[in-house]
């Protein structure tokens, strides 16, 4: 790294990392500061954390976000695994059309997806806003994500094991249980690790379809922001930043165990 190019690259990389991380680090630091507005360092405290954990509205919102994320992950990965398998193994009419339609939720702007679902739920289907509408919206985004991650993995798998199992007389369900699912498990876990934080943290689509009743944690934060920034919001934000880190450590642990 002695060359001029190396030094320049190091400088650009350092500045870019600072740009990406300083805001989050400051929020974390100020969440432990004794300053009510959360913009100054005035001594260490855990006050804001005990405050948010004893706040019923925050607890409810946290619970709702968690419930929605867990259900979204389970349904999306289940439906997604099945669908990826079918898309990979069978040639059928409409296969390309299905693939293209599955791209729509990923490439469409969240304001359009959210707006379209809201109109559809309130003016066409009469789906109650709240848990049902939020879950449908999240699963509609999570499932395609799972499908494309699992499809990517399928292209790189040795499928002869599956044939061998069938040749040895196992029926399709046994083959699925003993061969297909274990082989796909890393991809299924990878998609879950991607879908969970997305669902837990999504604001825009949820905001459109949430209605006036219960709220998720990001919507709670957004409403709280209208009354200005506070140290308590810093504490909630820290949870959001810590969550993917925790997931990553968990994944590293799982890999090491294998």
């Amino acid at each position: 790294m002695k060359s001029l190019t190396g030094k320049t690259l190091l400088a650009i990389a350092t500045l870019t990392y600072l740009f990406m991380w300083v805001p989050a680090i400051m929020v974390i630091v100020f969440s432990f500061s004794n300053d009510k507005l959360g913009v100054r360092w005035e001594g260490f405290t855990l006050r804001w954390y005990s405050e948010i954990f004893s706040n019923v509205a925050v607890r409810d919102a946290f619970g709702m976000s968690l419930t929605v994320a867990v259900i979204t992950v389970v349904v999306s990965t289940a439906v997604g695994t099945l669908a990826a398998y079918g898309l990979y193994k069978y040639k059928f009419r409409g296969r390309e059309a299905l693939r293209m339609s599955l791209l729509l939720p990923i490439i469409m702007p969240a304001v359009i997806t959210g707006g379209a679902l809201l109109v559809f739920f309130t003016r066409v289907l009469n789906v109650p806003l709240g848990y049902p509408s939020i879950l449908i919206a999240h699963i509609s985004f999570g499932t395609p994500l799972a499908i494309f991650i699992i499809l990517g993995r399928m292209a790189r798998i040795d499928w002869s094991l599956e044939e061998a199992s069938a040749d040895l007389g196992a029926d399709r369900l046994t083959t699925w249980r003993k061969i297909t699912i274990p082989v796909l498990l890393p991809a299924i876990i990878a998609s879950a690790i991607l879908i969970f934080p997305w669902s837990f943290g999504d604001f825009t689509i949820t905001f459109f379809v949430a209605g006036a009743g219960d709220t998720t944690l990001p919507i709670y934060v957004f409403s709280a922001l209208r009354f200005g920034e506070t140290a308590a919001i810093n504490a909630i934000s820290t949870i959001f930043v810590a969550l993917p880190v925790a997931f990553l450590l968990l994944m590293g642990f799982y890999k090491r165990k294998k």
Binding site: A13, M20, A24, V39, L82, P105, G115, V124, T143, F203
Partner: protein, 292 residues
């Protein structure tokens, strides 16, 4: 008994039904149908109190061309293009640095790029805003250094909106570039060096053309979310930084003019699909594979 026979018959004829059946129904019901509905609504008339009248009209599309909507569309296109380019200018050196000089820290360096993308977008923007706003870190540092005497109004201008969008989507640029550079054959670089190419020339004649797929994928992956963004202008922008996403939201929620909002949304969708089409055509297979 009869039913069982029928199911067996169906399965023999359409063996893919159990696997792709559920997702097809879901996609038709909750992806295609809602978009179809707003496409249909975009041709309808709005009555009093946001009631949708089933009277066919092109007014929603014509109104877009007449009003200030055009200005918002142009601004959005300008912002998205600028953001893609800025992300490329920051992201390429970063990805190059990770691949060439990362060494044993490579994985950690990649994770430091990916992690923000897994954190709630709203929370990340909140974090950025708390640094930029008048009592935030930047102003405090400048004040204590004596460089300024009163806080600078950094929020609510186009520049900050662009910075916010770059902050939001930079990881999406770095990842495909990283994958593309990582897959580069080092012997090609050596060969061009042995043949006497200067590092500068080598970069523009060998490295950059070979990573074209990654570049196009990165541009697409930053341009598309940026063009539909509405949170950055909402949290950090002012009246002069309104983007198309904000217009869609305003029409759907605040004004309650769903047909007008639908028409704007459809126009945005067409722009995105065109962009996707041209990028995939320019980048060929590699760009497509990096995206899907």
């Amino acid at each position: 008994m009869f039913l069982r026979e029928r199911i067996r018959e169906l399965l023999a004829k359409y063996p893919y039904l159990p696997s792709v059946g559920p997702v097809s129904i879901w996609v038709i019901l909750f992806v295609i149908a809602p978009l179809g509905v707003i496409l249909y609504f975009s041709f309808l008339t709005t009555g009093d109190f946001g009631v949708i009248l089933h009277i066919f009209t092109l007014e929603n599309y014509l109104a877009m061309a007449r009003s200030t909507v055009v200005e918002v569309f142009l601004r959005t296109l300008l912002f998205s293009t600028a953001i893609s380019m800025l992300c490329l200018l920051l992201g390429y050196p970063l990805a190059y640095f990770i691949v060439m000089y990362g060494g044993r820290w490579k994985i950690l360096l990649v994770f430091l790029v990916v992690l923000p993308e897994w954190t709630s977008y709203l929370i990340r923007l909140y974090a950025l805003r708390s640094i930029v706003r008048s009592g935030g870190l930047i102003n405090s540092v400048l004040l204590s250094l004596g460089l300024i005497s009163s806080p600078l109004p950094l929020l609510y201008n186009p520049f900050t909106v662009v910075v916010g969008l770059v902050y939001g989507y930079l990881p999406l640029m770095v990842l495909p570039l990283y994958a593309s550079l990582e897959g580069l054959d080092p012997s090609l670089l050596e060969a061009s060096g042995d043949l006497g190419a200067t590092p500068f020339r080598r970069f523009f004649t060998v490295t950059l053309p070979l990573t074209k797929g990654g570049v196009l994928a990165g541009i697409l992956l930053t341009f598309i979310p940026a063009i539909g963004d509405w949170l950055v202008p909402l949290l950090m922008g002012g009246p002069g930084t309104l983007m198309v996403g904000n217009l869609v939201f305003l029409h759907f929620i605040d004004v309650g003019n769903i047909p007008a909002g639908s028409a704007i949304g459809m126009a945005l969708t067409v722009i995105i699909l065109l962009m996707l089409y041209f990028c995939i055509r320019a980048g060929g297979k590699e760009a497509t594979e990096r995206i899907i």
